[in-house]
C-alpha cells in the first residue's frame, strides 16, 4: 500500500548514511584500534595501588610450539613486573596477511612481532613508535646493542623502530657437509677432503646402490630448492649465490663486500660440479621441487647419503635409520676444499635480527612499556623467558645449566618434550623471549648434536665458517629500484640456473650470453645498491 517512491527515498537515505560512514571511517584511517591500549600504571589521582600495565602482545605461532596464553612466563611477568600480557597468536602460515592488514589499517596491537621488511616499508607512516629517544633509558638493551653490533643495520635513517630478537646462547648449525660415515667405512672410501673427492665418494656409493641418489637437497627457509642447493656449494667454491632472503647477491667475507655470484669463475665451477653430479644421477633428480618432507624421506630411508644443509637434522635422521640398521650414522666431515683451494662453509646466524617487536605509536604509557622491554633483555627477564624459574625448572651448577629432573619427567611422554616444555613455560625464540638462551635444548640434543655445535663454533672462530648476514637498510629510492631490478632479474636467473644444472651442454653454450643478459638487466646496479647501503652502515 505504501508508495514505492517514498520507500525508495527512505532506503536511499539509509544507504547514503551508511556509505558515508564507511567512507569517513576509511578516510580517518580506522577509528578505535583493535587491541586494548596499555592502561597507565601510575594510577594518577586514583589513589589505589598500582594497576597492572595491560599490553596486547601479538606474535606468530609456529606449529611445533603452541602459544599458551597463561603460560608460566606470563604469570611470572604479572607477578614480578606487574605487566599483564594479552597474548594474541596467529598461525605462522598466514601471519603476513594478518600483519599487513593490521598495519595498513593502523589497528596494530600494543606490541607486535614483525619482520625488518615491514619496518622498512612502514616506518615512515608513523604507525610504529620511534624508539630512539628512549634508548638511553634502557641499560640492558644498551648492553645488547654493544654485543650485537649488527643491530645497527635495523636503523632506518638513524632511528630504531623495533626491538630485535637476539640470542644469548644457541646451538650453532649450518649448511655443513654431512655424510653416511658408516657407508664410507663399509665401502672402504676415504673421508673426502675436497669437492672432487666427494664426487668420487658419491660415485662409489651409487655403484654400490644403483637405485640411490646420493646427494639430496630441498627448499627451505624461504629459499627455493635451487637456491638452497647452490648457496652452500657456491660459497664453498669461493663465490656465493643469494642473501638470506633470496636476493641474487651475496656478501663475501673475503672482499667484505656484496658480489654478484655469476660474474666469478668459481661460481661457474660450482655449477659445473653440480651439473656433473646431476647428469651422473648422483644428485636428486627432483631437487627443484623437493620439499623438506621428501628430502627427509630420502635421507631417512637410505635413498640418499649426503646433504649439505642444516646439520641439526642428522640428530633426527640417525634414530630413524637405526631402527632398521643399527650401524647407520650421519656425521659431519671437515670442510671441503674447492679446486682453487678455498675452504669455507655457510652457517646460520644465531640472532634473529630480521624479526623485531614494534610498539604501536598509539600506546598509552610508552615509558612503562619501554622499561618492561628493557627488563626482558636483562638477566632476570632473559632467564625467565629462556630457562624458566631457577631451582624449580633448572639449576646452575658450577656455571653449567642443568634442567631439573621433575621438568623433564613431566613432559617426557610428549611427541616432542622440548617443545612441550617451551610451550608450557612460555620460553624461547618461538615464545616470549627477546633475548634468548637455548640451553633447555641441550638435554635433547644427544652428544653428536652438541659435538657438531661445538665444532661449528670453533670453526667460526677459525675463520672457516661464516654466518649469513642481514641486509643493510635501504632508503626509499633504493627500495624502489630494488623492486624493479629484482622483479626482472630474479625470474630470469631462477629459470636459467636450473637449465645449467640439468641440461647437458647448456653451461658451455649459453653461460656467457646468460651473464651478459644479467648485466643488461641490471646486475651491476643491484650490487652497487647493496654496497652503498652497506658502506653507510659501516661508516
Amino acid at each position: 500500500m505504501a508508495k514505492p517512491k517514498s520507500r525508495f527515498a527512505a532506503a536511499g537515505t539509509m544507504l547514503s548514511v551508511i556509505l558515508l560512514g564507511g567512507l569517513l571511517a576509511g578516510c580517518s584511517g580506522g577509528g578505535s584500534d583493535g587491541g586494548s591500549a596499555a592502561s597507565g600504571g601510575d594510577g594518577n589521582g586514583s589513589g589505589s595501588a598500582n594497576k597492572p600495565l595491560t599490553l596486547t602482545w601479538m606474535r606468530y605461532e609456529h606449529p611445533s610450539q603452541a602459544v599458551v596464553e597463561d603460560s608460566q612466563a606470563v604469570q611470572e611477568i604479572l607477578k614480578r613486573q606487574n605487566v599483564k600480557l594479552n597474548l594474541q597468536s596467529v598461525p605462522q602460515s598466514n601471519y603476513d596477511d594478518k600483519k599487513k592488514t593490521l598495519i595498513a589499517t593502523n589497528t596494530i596491537p600494543d606490541v607486535m612481532l614483525v619482520k625488518q621488511d615491514d619496518i622498512q616499508n612502514y616506518a615512515d607512516t608513523g604507525v610504529f613508535l620511534d624508539l630512539t629517544p628512549y634508548l638511553d633509558k634502557m641499560p640492558n638493551f644498551q648492553k645488547v646493542l654493544e654485543e650485537h653490533p649488527d643491530i645497527k643495520k635495523n636503523y632506518i635513517d638513524g632511528k630504531l623502530y623495533g626491538f630485535p630478537l637476539v640470542t644469548k646462547w644457541d646451538i650453532q648449525a649450518g649448511q655443513i657437509p654431512m655424510i653416511r660415515t658408516d657407508l664410507l667405512q663399509k665401502l672402504g672410501i676415504p673421508t673426502p677432503t675436497t669437492y672432487e673427492e666427494l664426487y668420487q665418494a658419491l660415485k662409489k656409493m651409487k655403484e654400490a646402490y644403483p637405485d640411490s641418489y646420493p646427494f639430496a637437497a630441498r627448499a627451505a627457509n624461504g629459499l627455493t630448492g635451487t637456491e638452497n642447493l647452490i648457496n652452500p656449494i657456491a660459497f664453498g667454491f669461493g663465490s656465493g649465490y643469494t642473501t638470506f632472503n633470496g636476493t641474487k647477491v651475496y656478501y663475501d667475507p673475503a672482499t667484505q663486500k656484496y658480489e654478484f655470484g655469476p660474474y666469478s669463475p668459481q661460481f661457474k665451477e660450482a655449477i659445473a660440479w653440480l651439473h656433473k653430479l646431476y647428469s651422473e644421477k648422483l644428485l636428486d633428480q627432483d631437487y627443484t621441487t623437493a620439499t623438506s618432507q621428501t628430502w627427509q624421506e630420502k635421507l631417512n630411508s637410505g635413498k640418499s647419503f649426503y646433504f649439505q644443509d642444516n646439520n641439526g637434522f642428522a640428530s633426527s635422521f640417525n634414530p630413524i635409520l637405526q631402527q632398521k640398521d643399527p650401524n647407520a650414522k650421519f656425521d659431519m666431515i671437515p670442510v671441503l676444499a674447492s679446486p682453487s683451494g678455498v675452504k669455507r662453509n655457510l652457517v646460520y646466524s644465531l640472532d634473529h635480527l630480521s624479526e623485531s617487536y614494534v610498539i604501536s605509536a598509539k600506546v598509552k604509557d610508552p615509558d612503562r612499556v619501554i622499561q618492561f622491554i628493557d627488563w626482558m633483555y636483562g638477566e632476570e627477564g632473559t632467564n625467565l623467558t629462556s630457562l624458566g624459574i631457577e631451582n624449580q625448572d633448572y639449576t646452575i651448577e658450577n656455571g653449567e645449566y642443568k634442567m631439573s629432573q621433575e621438568l623433564m619427567d613431566k613432559y617426557k611422554d610428549k611427541p616432542s618434550p622440548y617443545y612441550a616444555i617451551e610451550s608450557a613455560l612460555g620460553l624461547g625464540y618461538l615464545g616470549l623471549a627477546l633475548n634468548y638462551d637455548d640451553h633447555p635444548n641441550v638435554p635433547f640434543q644427544g652428544e653428536d648434536g652438541l659435538r657438531w655445535s661445538e665444532t661449528n663454533l670453533k670453526n667460526v672462530d677459525a675463520g672457516i665458517n661464516f654466518r649469513f648476514t642481514n641486509d643493510p637498510p635501504f632508503n626509499k629510492e633504493e627500495r624502489e629500484k630494488l623492486k624493479q631490478l629484482r622483479t626482472e632479474l630474479d625470474s630470469f636467473i631462477t629459470s636459467n640456473m636450473d637449465k645449467f644444472i640439468i641440461k647437458d651442454g647448456a653451461l658451455e653454450s649459453d653461460w656467457d650470453s646468460f651473464v651478459q643478459q644479467c648485466k643488461e638487466k641490471g646486475a651491476d646496479e643491484l650490487v652497487q645498491i647493496y654496497n652503498d647501503a652497506l658502506a653507510r652502515v659501516q661508516s
Binding site: 520507500r7 556509505l19 608513523g126 620439499t291 622483479t487 630474479d490 629459470s495
Partner: protein, 316 residues
C-alpha cells in the same frame, strides 16, 4: 501471459507517469525483498571498491585513501611494458583455455554417466567417494602430487613396470599444464557434477516416456532430451567460467612450480606474489588486479551478448 487482475484500474488515475508507476507498483514487493541483498552489496562490495583508487596512487596508510599522492599510471606502465609480464599473461590464458577444453566438460560427462547408472546403491557410493577430493586442501594435494610424481615416486614406478625410464615430470615445462589440469579434474569431478545432477532432476520424465514410445535409443534420448534439458545451466556455468580466464588458482601453482617450469607455469598471480615478497606493494598488486578485472569483465560481457543471441541463456 499477463495476469488478469491486480489493480489495473487504479494506476490510470496517476496521470502522466502511468506506465512507469504501474511497473514500479507491480515490483514493489520485489524491491522490498531485494533490499537486504542490495544493502549487503553496497556495504561490503561497493564501499570497499573505493579501495581500487590505490592502484592509481602511491598508497600511504596513515594519510588514508584520499590524501595519498597520485602516482598516475606509473604501475600500469611498469607491468604493461614488461615483456615477462606478457609471458605470464599468456601462461594464464593458456592454462585457462586448456581448462575450458578438458576441465569444464568433465563434470558434465560424469553427471550424464552417473545418471545412466542402474544400481542406486552403487550410484550413491560413487557419488559420495568422488566428491571427497574436493575437500582436500591445496597443500595436501600438491604434497601428494610432488610425492607421486617424483623420479622414484609411484607414477614412475608403475611406468617402470612397463620398462619406461623415469621422467622428472615436475621439472619439465611441457608437462606442467597436463599435471595441473588433471589434478584439477581429479579434485573437481565429483563436486562439479552436483549442480548438473540437480539440473537433471528438473527434466520432465514424461519426455523420456514419450521418446521411448517413439523408439528412441538411449543415445538419442541423451542427445535430444537430457542435454537440451540442462543446456541453460551449462551455458551459465560456461559464462561464469569465462569470468576466470585471467586468473588461476595460484596456491597450487606456487607449490608445484620451480625454475625449470616457469616458462609455462608462471602465471599472473605468482608473478604478483613474488613481487609482493620482494617488497610489500599494495598498489602494484591492485593495479594488476584492475587489469585482470577489466579484461575479464569485457570478456564476459561479450560472451554474454553472444550467448543471448544464440541460446537465450545469459547472466544479465
Amino acid at each position: 501471459m499477463v495476469p488478469v487482475t491486480t489493480g489495473a484500474a487504479a494506476p490510470a488515475r496517476r496521470g502522466g507517469q502511468g506506465g512507469l508507476g504501474r511497473k514500479l507498483a507491480k515490483s514493489k514487493a520485489l524491491y522490498l525483498m531485494f533490499l537486504p541483498p542490495l544493502l549487503y552489496f553496497l556495504i561490503f562490495q561497493y564501499a570497499p571498491m573505493i579501495g581500487n583508487l590505490m592502484a592509481f596512487q602511491d598508497f600511504s596508510i596513515v594519510k588514508g585513501f584520499f590524501h595519498s599522492p597520485w602516482a598516475g599510471t606509473k604501475y600500469f606502465r611498469e607491468f604493461l611494458t614488461d615483456d615477462y609480464f606478457w609471458q605470464v599473461v599468456r601462461n594464464t590464458v593458456l592454462i585457462n583455455v586448456y581448462s575450458l577444453l578438458f576441465y569444464f566438460p568433465a563434470p558434465i560427462v560424469f553427471a550424464l554417466l552417473l545418471n545412466e547408472l542402474r544400481g542406486r546403491g552403487f550410484k550413491r557410493v560413487v557419488q559420495t567417494i568422488t566428491y571427497v577430493p574436493h575437500f582436500l586442501s591445496t597443500v595436501v594435494v600438491a604434497g601428494m602430487l610432488v610425492n607421486f610424481l617424483a623420479s622414484d615416486g609411484l607414477i614412475n614406478e608403475l611406468r617402470g613396470l612397463f620398462g619406461a625410464e623415469p621422467v622428472t615430470f615436475l621439472a619439465l615445462p611441457e608437462w606442467f599444464r597436463t599435471i595441473f589440469i588433471s589434478s584439477d579434474i581429479w579434485q573437481g569431478l565429483g563436486w562439479g557434477s552436483i549442480i548438473y545432477l540437480a539440473a537433471l532432476t528438473g527434466i520432465d520424465p514424461q519426455l523420456y516416456e514419450a521418446a521411448t514410445l517413439d523408439g528412441a535409443s538411449r543415445w538419442k534420448k541423451m542427445l535430444h532430451i537430457t542435454l537440451p534439458g540442462i543446456s541453460t545451466v551449462i551455458m551459465v556455468m560456461l559464462l561464469l567460467s569465462l569470468g576466470h580466464m585471467l586468473s588461476v588458482g595460484f596456491e597450487k601453482i606456487l607449490l608445484l612450480y620451480s625454475g625449470p617450469t616457469y616458462e609455462t607455469a608462471d602465471v599472473i598471480q605468482t608473478y604478483v606474489y613474488r613481487r609482493g615478497l620482494i617488497d610489500s606493494d599494495f598498489s602494484f598488486a591492485a593495479a594488476v588486479g584492475i587489469f585482470q578485472s577489466v579484461l575479464s569483465f569485457v570478456l564476459v560481457v561479450s560472451a554474454n551478448q553472444l550467448s543471448r543471441k544464440l541460446s537465450g541463456a545469459r547472466l544479465f
